[in-house]
Amino acid sequence: MKKILFYVILCAFLPSLSNAQMNARVWPYIIIDVIDTAKVECIYKYDVRMGDEVRRNYNILQIGDKIVKSCTYAAYRKDSLGIALDNKNYPTSFLMKKTRELKKSTIYHSDNTHTSWKIFWNYPKPNKLLITDRVFTDCYKSVETPSPIDWNIDYNETKNINGYNCSKAVGKYFGREWTVWYAADIPLSYGPWMLYGLPGLILEASDSTGGHKFSVVKFSKTKQPIGLENKKAFKTSYSKVVRLHKEYVKRPLDYVNSHSGIQLKNGASAKKRRFFYNPLILLDE
């Protein structure tokens, strides 16, 4: 009888014990590796146009001794938090609080342009390019060899951008014709997104259709670490990732059905959603 009573009491307390365990459960925020330290960072205002609608985002270029990273400012904030938390485990409530704080309004936070790429120059080895991206919930990473851009420099046109005398260059890259303004006084051959290869830092870039425009808003010295999130991702070529993104944007339900195994019905409640998506890369179909 005593045994029965003991087991009954034990059973009664078990759920509360497991619940307490759940509350005390700890997780890492994200697993992130520090791969270099940035010596210079450059923040760009990024305007994307789709039809009449223009949305604004902010991008950051972190330039280290070896590695250069380009991503949205929202992603940079998330990675910075990950680095600060040092891959350690924290209670769920603490992580949720930190996530909420991160989402609090700041002009740099908004990521409403469906920009999910992160670009790492000279990683995993020199002269290579690592691009991580996400389509729906699937993560992809691609290692590419950067293709050179044939820049046509126009010495007759100069422009002063925030105190820097800039020269104009025009070049074709992934189906778009880019007009960029670079500062020869800053001997860094990078720029926003994947634009590179000029004898100075690119401070302003716009494509000929007016669909994309990057303009520098901040350029400063820094000692911030450059982080790379360590998570499982499908390895594939980036052109395939771009195609998948296009497919997802065109027919999201079909994409989710075919890629996740979840069967979503195109019922009355599932309204047709028009994604704000204007790809930087135009592939030849």
């Binding site: 010596k39 210079v40 205002k45 330039i63 070896k66 609090k104 309004s105 002009i107 908004s110 000279n122 020199p126 002269n127 010495y155 925030n162 105190g163 820097y164 005398n165 020869a184 006084d185 800053i186 001997p187 860094l188 051959s189 290869g197 004898p199 100075g200 520098v216 808003v217 901040k218 350029f219 400063s220 010295k221």
Partner: protein
Amino acid sequence: MKVSSITILLLIMSCLNSFSQTINDKKLLCGYVRNAETGKALQNVVVKLKADANSSRMSAYALTRSDGSFEIKARRMEEKGYLVFSLLGYETYTVELVKSNVGEPVNVALKPFDYELEEIVVRPTSIEARGDTVAFLAGSFISPTTITLADLICKMPGLSVDKRGRIEYQGERIKKFYIEGLDLLSSDYNMATLNIQANDVSMVEVLENDQPIKLLKGVEHEELASINIKLKKSALSRLKGTLDMEAGSNLPYDKKLAAAKLFCMNISSQKQYMATLGGSNYSRYNTLHKRARKSSAKISIPSNPFSKAPLADNRYIDLKQLGGRLGSIKKIAKNKEYKYNISLTRENEKYSSISESEYFTPQGKIKYSEVALPDAETYALAGNISFLNNSDNHYLDEKIDIMAGFEKDDILVDKDSYNLEQRARVRNIEIKNILKYKRKNNKGNISSFDNVLNISINPNSEYSVPSQYEKYAYNQSLSQLTAQTLFAGSYVWMLGDISSISLGYQTDLNYTQVKTNLNSGESENNTRQARANNIANLSYQWNPNSWKVIFSLKGFADAMHFSYLKPLSEDKENYNKINSYWGLSNSIFCHCSANTKIYLKNNYRDTRHISFSDFVMNTIRYSYMRESSSRSIDNPNSQDISSMLYVEYKDPIQGMFSKINIGYVHKRKNTINSIEITPDGYMGSRMHLTNSSSNLRGNLFFSKRFFSIKTTVTSQISVNIMKNRLVRNSINMEANNKSVAANIRISTNPFRWINIEAEGGWGSMKSEIENTSPNQSDNYESHGSLTFLPTEKLHFSLSHNYSYRSKDNFGNSISSSFLDASISYEQKRWRYELLANNLLGEDVYQKVSYKGGDVFVNTYFLRQREMLLKLSYRF
């Protein structure tokens, strides 16, 4: 032969050699770059080939690879050249190249050094112009004393907000007030301006020349600007609001004062709610429906360009108020929305004042005096529901409006009035019915009854066009019928004087038809407009003293109107269009008008108008406006230049009234330059200069008045300077040979913790009315406030108003001095404020103001010492 062939070969070789002195195609330059300290290869070093080491031009460049190697293919190589190696964080290294050494590898070691960067931080500009939109970034204008949206808008150049929360832009009332692109409150938007927290606002956009009807964009030019408020993300799609509670005492009368108000809103770009509920036993909340207030208790403070009346309503009006208002709007499709507004108010208003005015007229000086002692009680209910479809090819505005009010004024006369107005606009029919009943009982009885029924078929609430091109001809498919009946009855009975019975009946019928026939690029328009006016009036007057009886019956239908509309030319490809219109009226007066509108896509837009009136008022008007620009339908944001000429002439015997107005506006980015000159025989001439980029405005006013044999000359100078968001200074001066007035206003914060606002004015007047008032009277006014901000949360404010008039109409000097103090403290969402008003216990305030040569004297009887504790909770 052998010698000669060798000589020829040598000659050819020497020629080739001399040729290669200047041109050497695709010469390869190569080498390695390493770190001078570590010896490691340096990647991405910029290697430039230059003809001149100091020149910014380069003939070729390359970037080093991961192993530090580089290659430059020089297309052209001069006798001498330079290779410049640079990388951020390393010293720049220059190598001189001599032509003979070209081809040999250039190996370089760069020394690291602690580099300096000219850092860039681009802060968002506080004012940004995008086409016709001027955007003000709210964060740049917020200071610790900025609490509501009205406080914020007041600080923005070109914008002003009056005490009731109504906004003006460049001196003109705004047309529409949008929040997140939706017009929730229509014209009664003060609920938003006086309640929305400034901290919740992200941006205030001024939409210049905003045509709210999409269909008419690029067709009908809209002069007035609209405002769009953009909220911060943290204030969107959530319940936000404030709860204010006030309690205190009026010390001389030991009267308890209490007030409370709740304001809440939930705003998104798709649906919005806004509501307020408030009550007070001593003062007014301005945020209730403006049309709910039907009281006759109105005070008219003449507009004076030189000094703002520092007297706030709550110093002299004793008002009990209870009311609430709710507004909602929902976007149901991209271009479709519906909304409703409802308000219910009860007010009891008391105050006493005396207004005296002296006006110059061609016939002489007129003195006008009015005593106001209203004790008005008003109940008002107003509500409307509307549906709007505003797409590129269809515009439809359906609305049902109901207003009901009851007003009782029981001090001078026992007067009741009832008002019921209903209006419904559904599809192409509008029905409007206004019912008014007044009863007045003092010495006798006065009753009146009015009912107006108005039915319109195809009112200007629906436009529809089948294609983009035909939007230029939108109004040509319009036919409109308006019928109106008016039935009015009145009965007047004044014992011993007069009695009267009057009955009136009036019908108006107005039919307009505009036909359009567009066939293969040719169009033919015919317009017929007919109007019949029939008025019957039966009146009977009874005067018991003189036995005078008047009976009259009037009926006439002689009004005739004819108009003709025809485009003079039309070019479909270039969207060119010329419309001309002439009109002729004949009733008790003659009226003639002509109107020409020309729309050209790529060049300019022209509007001309001529008008003529006769019999009662002889008037000739001519207006001409030309807008010249690259502005077009396809490119609406381009720059434009507008010029405008307006000439008006009225009967010289009646008023010596003529007017020429020449305007010039040039818009470029954020700069608006305008000059407006108005020579005016009766009122004076006026020159107005505006430059919006430097926030500089100027007014020159000159008045030459022919009044008997006396001449009044008035000049005015007004300068407003705003150096930055916290310094706004202005100087105004006016002088004429009867009076002179000057005013200076300064607003500054020399230190972060102190804020000073000061305004002072002086006026002197020589009275024209001898034997009744002294000849000379001086008037001083000053207003100053000092706010200490020891911390962001704690504010001390001291405000002083002083006014002095050396001699009133009875030869006495009058002065009044107000001292108000307040302490406020903010803690998270709470704000505590202790207010002490009219501490010196002034009971009379007299204000003298000047406009041209006219003089206005207003005497108010004031509420004295009040202490109030105000609690405000923000959520």
